[in-house]
Symmetry: C2
Subunit: 192 residues, 2 copies
């Protein structure tokens, strides 16, 4: 969804595909974790489908409606939401290949505005940020990210995440095992 | 998403398009209500995008990636979820043109299974059913629908909805004004 091969050259396409695959891994890890949470009855969290504006459909039969012209649309919300033991969860996930900092523009305006809206409705709202170089995945409260995006800062240094975020442990069945982290934060009154 | 014109004949196509439009109106009414709830800071509820399996994309430029082959996929969840004053909401919406009964097959197995899953996580889970002929829109607790779908019943008579459901009032800015109905039900202990 983020990295499209530009299709100019075969070499470029391959490069772009690899880049795309790397870009997908946090998403894949979160999806795996969510499947594990679903199967073990811990939580029900899904990634929302990418919205697509369908223009033309070829209806050879009702069963095999083939979309022949469509475009990606900008989502209005964050990518993930769900329910966990009576609590509404809502979050966005981003990864950066930078060693030094996280560019705040990676979190888009509609995602920030959605996080503000769900916070107002008392959702457990947060952002998951991965520094791929260090293979570190942080959970940051939405309220902390929103404080920074309301300034004129362009990026947050890696150290900001060590300070304000919590490291999410890797587990075999839940590569981004965020629920125990949330649980601890809630017990410590972090979401009040 | 439900009613595709089959494209066999122009006359058929027009008929199917009209049918499709009628089929969309509950969805449109709910979307309007959700927009009103969002704008008035009452709740944050969205319809999930229809999942599409993209096969081929024409990348003339990154900005205008054109999907040239894609197919509709079966969603894993209900269509609507969100957060309202700290409560996780999850629901499906269906309408029927029948005067006498609601065919239970209109609620698909994956939707029933999802409702079971979110109920287990203590979501406020329900179904909105409209009888278009009477222009009546009911809110029914998921737990009540799940009781009926676990029997071998094929349909529920209109009277079942008067008995087990709550009529959702029409308001100009919220054509399916379900929040006050939920509020009353919660106060009456219906969701405990």
């Amino acid at each position: 969804m983020v990295n499209y091969p530009n299709g100019k050259k075969a070499a470029d396409a391959v490069k772009q595909t690899n880049y795309g695959k790397r870009g997908m891994s946090l998403e894949e890890d979160i999806n795996t974790s969510n499947r594990y949470y679903l199967e073990t009855h811990k939580a029900v969290v899904y990634k929302k489908p990418t919205p697509v504006q369908v223009v033309t459909v070829d209806y050879k039969s009702r069963q095999t409606a083939k979309i022949t012209e469509a475009y990606y649309r900008t989502p209005s919300t964050t990518d993930y939401n769900g329910v966990w033991a009576g609590l509404p969860l809502d979050f966005e996930a981003k990864e950066t290949h930078s060693k030094t900092s996280f560019a705040l523009k990676l979190i888009h305006p509609h995602q920030l505005s959605h996080l503000r809206n769900v916070l107002e409705q008392k959702a457990i709202a947060f952002v998951i940020v991965r520094f791929t170089h260090y293979n570190e995945t942080f959970l940051i409260k939405a309220v902390d990210i929103l404080k920074e995006t309301s300034t004129d800062k362009k990026s947050l240094p890696h150290s900001w995440f060590s300070e304000h975020g919590r490291l999410i442990p890797f587990k075999l069945f839940a590569p981004v095992d965020y629920l125990p982290v949330l649980d601890k934060m809630i017990q410590e009154g972090e979401f009040e």
